[in-house]
Amino acid sequence: MIISEAKPLAELQEVLAPFGRLFLVGCAACATACKAGGEEEVFRFQEWMAGQGKETTGSVIIDEACHIQRAARDLRHHAQAVAAADALVVLACGSGVQSISSNTDKRVIGALNSLFLGNVRRFGQYEEMCSLCGDCILNETAGICPVTNCAKGLLNGPCGGMKAGRCEIDGELDCAWRLIFERLQRQQRPGVFARRVPPKAWSRRRKPGRHKIR
């Protein structure tokens, strides 16, 4: 899921300063799961705003804020409260914020920072394992992504900074290439070490992404 976290309150205070009446939007999917934009967080945000002397005209938790049509429908259901607000505050990932902003010309304030596509280790502990590169190499790397887990995204083995199997940027982190190497050894196959992996086709990652499944 998409991992997000609240922006610093000082930053929000500043960006909300011109507005007195606000409509709040949360997301029932990822932002709820990582406790950044669910029912509870939207409620607490409302309390905090009240403390700042601001009025909440209404709020909604969209099923999946990244769903553009669903966001449009939910905003329509709250048309009056939305109309009464000076701006909308969205507690969802950057995708969610843009579902909202593509449905209204009112000012839309994102209240979260979106971090990464995360796996859940346990509640509150998320790990980035895939960076959606569009050209997946996992089948050769024993199911461990070097694009994401190697700090340099190297495709052909470890850098010279690996020390005792740990990563140069953080001695607490295992070098992704050591993990790949060890699992390939357990699987008794050369995998990615059998060939020189050519440079990645970053054109697959060209922005903005559009994808149609027929």
Binding site: K152, L155, G157, G161, G165, E168
Partner: protein, 284 residues
């Protein structure tokens, strides 16, 4: 053909040294340093070493070359994408630079611009392939070049890194990709050098042992804690600590390493970091 490639081909014991471009635009001091270097075949020019922003290595390498000093241009994948890397390589070839040392590069977080976006569009193995292509007269897109470079590409290897079998996997890829020589990161123990030399011998690629002048125990500790892949063993730190004159001891340690290199390797790469006057002593 570069002197470095000729000397290595002739089986001579080769010595290379290293200079860093300035933080700024005055090349005079570093050129004076380079001109004073004696008994070295070629001089490495570091590329924003440790991810610290400095003057472009290509420019300094070109200036060395103009003065008849043979450069080894270090080129890292950290700060340039494939277009910029190829473009710099063509520039180097046009300036008559043939020796290139192709590196991944230390992560941006270690340098003085830690918020920079690290590039790593290519890795060192892929960059070796690119250089092999340029030497055949084609770029990565398969487009023909007007004039064909004659690069003598080298690669790095860290002899102290574990697991060593994993390090070797990459060494093999680098040889397959066209690495013509290896330059090791700083080495401090005989066993590490011996192990590396034995593993690389069947590949028929000469190895230059990296010899770093460690001037004090304090510097050794700093290297261990702050420089990627660097591993100064406790015994070496202790020797520096107990020495009456740590610089002299550092020179003695470096000289021992050179001795092992004479046994196991085809040369040494000296990193004296501003104490180039010690080079004759280290090589004695």
């Amino acid at each position: 053909m570069s002197q470095l490639s000729q000397n290595l081909a002739a089986g001579e014991f080769v010595v290379t040294a290293e200079v860093a471009p300035p933080k700024g635009i005055d090349l005079a001091p570093v050129l004076a340093t380079a001109e004073k270097l004696q008994g070295v075949t070629a001089v490495n020019v570091t590329d924003n070493q440790g991810a610290n922003m400095r003057l472009c290595a290509l420019v300094l390498a070109g200036e060395l070359r103009r003065r008849g000093i043979e450069p080894v241009l270090q080129l890292t994948c950290r700060d340039r994408n494939r277009v910029a890397l190829q473009s710099d390589l063509l520039g180097a070839a046009a300036l008559g630079i043939e020796n290139v040392l192709l590196l991944s590069g230390d992560h941006s977080k270690f340098g003085d611009h830690p918020d920079a976006r690290p590039v790593f569009d290519l890795d060192a193995v892929q960059l070796l392939d690119v250089v092999a292509g340029l030497n055949r007269g084609v770029d990565m897109a398969g487009k023909p070049l007007a004039g064909t470079p004659r690069f003598f590409p080298g690669a790095a290897v860290n002899p102290a890194a574990e697991p060593f079998e994993l390090v070797l996997q990459k060494v093999r890829k680098k040889v397959d990709g066209g690495a013509r020589f290896f330059q090791t990161q700083a080495v401090f123990t005989r066993v590490e050098l011996e192990r590396l030399a034995a593993a690389v011998a069947p590949l028929n690629v000469p190895v230059l042992a990296g010899v770093l002048l460690v001037r004090s125990a304090k510097m050794a500790r700093f290297l261990n804690s702050s420089i990627p892949g660097m591993c100064v063993p406790d015994e070496v730190v202790a020797r520096l600590e107990q020495a009456a004159d740590p610089l002299l001891e550092g020179v003695a340690i470096a000289r021992e390493t050179v001795g092992w290199a004479r046994t196991f390797c085809q040369g040494v790469h000296l990193m004296t970091l501003g104490h180039d006057e010690t080079i004759p002593e280290i090589l004695r």
